[in-house]
Amino acid sequence: MEETTKCELVLHINGEQRTVITRQAETLLFVLRDELGLTGTKPGCLNGDCGACTVLVNGTPIKSCMMLAIETVGKEITTIEGLRDTPIQHAFVRHFAFQCGYCTPGFIMNIHALIEQHPNADQSTIQEWLQSNICRCTSYQEIEAAVKEALQAKKTDIQPSHNRISRV
């Protein structure tokens, strides 16, 4: 029965155009993961409760488990795979703002959008934005420190130093 409802979608993801054939009822989360191999976006609850699946749609953080892929046609989607060398990624590494790393892509996407949209975010804005994501490993204090450093880096436009960090 599901075969009859499949459709072809052209999506714009991380600056690339990708074509997929999928069920009309498929969520963006599953299309990203199963059809496009972008497994950095994580399922945590499929119910909008945890934020692990957060991606950006036209620059706005969206829980991809709560959005149908078909709704994103014509929009720009950014996933964790589309972020490179951003201040928040560096700050996360330096502040040990993750342990198991499973919630990390969702947090980073959310924070990246926060920094882009509110470069002067105060404590209450940070709080409002970040309460949509759950991290079970850290105490959030590490994440808070990383957010503040990344905001600072963005403001002063100083690129964080790369030297102490070994990269692949």
Binding site: M1, D34, L38, L83, I134, V168
Partner: protein, 775 residues
């Protein structure tokens, strides 16, 4: 060099770029998907299961039911992998549908018709122990079990641990005052952000390949051999990064279903992946507890006797709950010296999701009970709760409840932890202040200690292979569950080989065919056991390097040192050969060669541990006791009973801090989990023992912004035989939090709060209603 520095985690960049892969991220064309059909009843007889319609649905390849499967369980085999004759908890697996896609499997699952005959459900340990309570396991006397499990057939008792130290009667006789406190909390959940997942396939040569989000890849191999008679050598388990575990991924459950599923479809690869709801109730949970603690003390607050009854809510199957109940008994007094101890710790069957290890393994549960009692004692005696703890703090020379003599090495410095906590918290300034008519601030503290109670023959192995550039690969069976242990192993190796830690590479994934065994990644023993193995492997490599270099340099190996990428003459470092020139053996100018790739190997097995005596509990369960002192400061609103956790403190004896930022992260993360558990987590059951809140919307862990300020410090009292003296620290942050929070809130609200979670409604109920009632 590398030890003691905040080395960035080796997998850090994989984790911030989305490159890090977890079990469910490995997709394969043609892989089949399973959907679990679970029980809507907590206790019911299965009358019939009709699968025809489901089997005929599009894409369906197989439907599995529980008929004819062997019983499973690590300590006692009481659990069918799929329920057969009756279901014993809400959410128990009754059938498994395997189909081409997950959607097809889900659709077909709805077509399975199951007829149940509901039975009365048992809701708590005390209920389960009542005369005439329904029995969960009528055949308790017939289950296969190991030698250290003592079920009581005809009852709902899966296991009883007895601790008898000194003479409890004499202890109470010598006491000026005796107080009794009862506490309780329902089962809750680990809520790892990655839900559990397992895949399995059988290759044409008969080899079985399993991939699992697990803390126990080697145990999976062992158990599939035990349960299904498969040759151990033909079972290969792969474990990539794990997205949070906290004990919840130590048991083996979905792996068995994946194995059965692949068998049913001719060996094709099948994936079994928990949705959040299944992960919370179908898979094992954090144990519940009802406990009574009786303390006898002199009027100065010196403990004379402790009588403790732990009734653990093990749920429907004993799994590792037996072990958890034993672990709580082993350390039942907390980090205090008590001459006369009597403890009965029971693992009780109830019709609730079955329990398994939860970070701190019975110890946050134990400490919640005992530390609440200590605060009550201090109140009765009108003594400072800190003083009472300090006076009784455990020290070298004392014995533990299981009568192990403590030394300077095998126990941390409890008095030092308490002293530092007192300073950090400014304990002496105030413990309770009223800020205005409605707002009260209060502080509460707790002590904590823990040893491990893992198998007495647990072992760990490490292999170091050298690359032609002189760099090293570390291969260890420790699973990277988020604790950063693999990075710490790289630091240990770098330190021993005196090389740059950037040149030490670690293999993150586990493949049981090529990775040496590490028993299980549990009990905060990764750094100790794998660290010892890594040191042994490094020593082995050094010996090989020296042998080759001795030949080349025409000296004896004894004259040589290894370090800084070279093997050099001790009294004249100018005479040397670079490690990279001999890492793959050495070729003389004339073409002759010696050596070969340098491969260091090392292992470590726990030593001189013994099981507990069944009558007295005497025995040596673990190699060392780590200690901590913790505190919480709350701001309580007397009008609406809400509160804010303002600060949380921990002073932990780490032995030696190997990676400061990683250690801090472990401590603070554990504290956060402990506060979340104590303040807001717990399953809600209806009368039929159905779980009402198996979702992250209704079961809501701490979110960003609800966190207090964390203040953590480490004391360093080395454990002599541990790598660089390091003690386990992954769990201590958690274990004092529930008690400290309850103590702070009890002081703030002026009423004993002996239940969890400490939601405003509970505080209101306690103050308005039965002001001294707990159970």
């Amino acid at each position: 060099m590398a030890v003691g520095k905040s080395i960035i985690r080796k997998e850090a960049w994989d984790k911030v770029t989305g490159r890090a892969k977890y079990t469910n991220d490995f997709k394969e064309q043609g892989m089949l998907h399973a959907k679990l059909v679970t029980s809507p009843y907590a206790h019911a007889r299965i009358i019939s299961i009709e699968t025809h319609e489901a089997l005929a649905a599009p894409g369906v390849r197989a439907v599995l039911t529980g008929k004819g499967l062997p019983l499973t369980g690590e300590d006692m085999r009481d659990r069918p992998p799929i329920a057969a004759d009756k279901v014993r908890y809400y959410g128990e697996v009754v059938a498994v549908v395997v189909a081409d896609t997950l959607v097809q499997a889900e659709q077909a699952a709805r077509l399975i018709r199951i007829v149940y005959e509901p039975l009365p459900a048992v809701g708590s340990p005390r209920e389960a122990l009542k005369e005439g309570a329904p029995l969960l396991h009528e055949e308790l006397d017939r289950y296969e079990r190991n030698k250290t499990t003592y079920p009581e057939p005809g009852t709902n008792i899966a296991h009883r641990t007895k601790i008898r130290k000194g003479d409890i009667k004499q202890g109470f006789a010598e006491s000026d005052v005796i107080i009794e406190t009862s506490v309780s909390f329902a089962p809750s959940d680990h809520v790892a952000m990655e839900t559990r997942c397992a895949t399995a396939e059988i290759w044409p040569d008969g080899s079985i390949h399993i991939s699992a989000s697990s803390q126990s890849p080697f145990m999976i191999k062992r158990l599939i051999h035990t349960y299904f008679g498969e040759e151990a050598g033909k079972i290969v388990v792969h474990t990539p990064l794990v997205g949070g575990a906290y004990g919840g991924k130590a048991p083996v459950q979905l792996e068995l279903l994946a194995y059965l599923a692949t068998k049913a479809v001719g060996g094709r690869k099948v994936s079994v992946w928990n949705n959040r709801e299944c992960d919370m109730v179908t898979s094992p949970v954090h144990i519940g507890l009802e406990a009574t603690v009786k303390i006898g003390a002199t009027k100065d607050g010196v403990f004379k006797a402790m009588e403790i009854v732990f009734l653990f809510d093990g749920g429907a199957y004993s799994d590792k709950a037996i072990d958890v109940s034993r672990a709580a008994a082993v350390d039942c007094t907390g980090p205090y010296h008590v001459e006369h101890v009597w403890c009965d710790s029971l693992c009780v069957y109830t019709n609730r999701p079955y329990a398994t290890p939860f970070r701190s393994f019975g110890h946050c549960e134990q400490s919640f009970a005992v530390e609440r009692a200590i605060d009550e004692l201090a109140k009765v005696l009108q003594l400072d709760p800190w003083d009472v703890r300090r006076k009784n703090a455990i020290r070298p020379g004392h014995t533990t409840p299981t009568q192990v003599r403590l030394t300077k090495s095998n126990v941390g410095d409890m008095p030092a932890c308490l002293d530092r906590l007192r300073e950090l918290m400014r304990w002496d300034e105030w413990q309770r202040i009223e800020l205005d008519a409605y707002t009260v601030r209060a502080k509460g503290i707790s002590g904590g200690w823990k040893t491990s109670t893992i198998d007495t023959d647990s072992s760990s192995g490490v292999i170091l292979t050298f690359n032609s550039d002189g760099s090293v690969n570390v291969i260890s069976g420790v699973v990277e569950i988020g604790t950063g242990t693999k990075t710490v192993l790289a630091q240990i190796v770098a330190e021993r080989l005196k090389m740059n830690v950037d040149d030490v590479h670690v293999k993150m994934d586990i493949d049981t065919q090529t990775t040496p065994e590490h028993w299980k990644t549990v009990a905060s023993r990764g750094t100790f056991m794998a660290g010892r193995a890594a040191l042994a492997a490094a020593n082995d490599a050094i010996r090989q390097l020296k042998e080759i270099a001795a030949c080349v340099l025409r000296v004896t190996p004894d004259d040589l040192e290894v370090g800084f990428g070279r093997v050099f003459l001790r009294d004249d470092p100018a005479i040397f050969i670079p490690v990279k020139d001999i890492a793959y053996g050495y070729k003389f100018p004339n073409g002759n060669a010696i050596g070969g790739q340098v491969i260091g190997r090392g292992h470590y097995i726990l030593r001189r541990l013994t099981p507990l005596d069944p009558e007295t509990g005497a025995g040596k369960p673990g190699p060392e006791w780590g200690v901590c002192a913790e505190g919480v400061e709350v701001e309580f609103n007397r009008r609406d009973y809400t509160y804010r956790i303002v600060k949380a403190y921990a002073v932990i004896d780490a032995g030696k801090v190997l990676n400061p930022k990683a250690a801090l992260g472990q401590a603070m993360g554990a504290m956060s989990m402990g506060l979340s558990f104590a303040s807001r987590e717990g399953f809600l059951f209806d009368e039929a023992q159905r779980v009402l809140n198996p979702q992250l919307r209704t079961y809501r862990p701490i979110h960003f912004g609800e966190h207090p300020t964390y203040i953590v410090e480490f004391i360093e009292t080395p454990q002599i035989d541990a790598p660089y003296g390091a003690r386990g620290i992954g769990e201590h942050g958690l274990l004092g939090m529930p008690a400290a929070l309850a103590n702070a809130l009890s002081l703030a609200a002026g009423v004993p709060l002996n239940e969890l979670p400490l939601v405003p409604e509970l505080i209101w109920r306690k103050q308005k209603g039965d002001s001294y009632g707990s159970l």
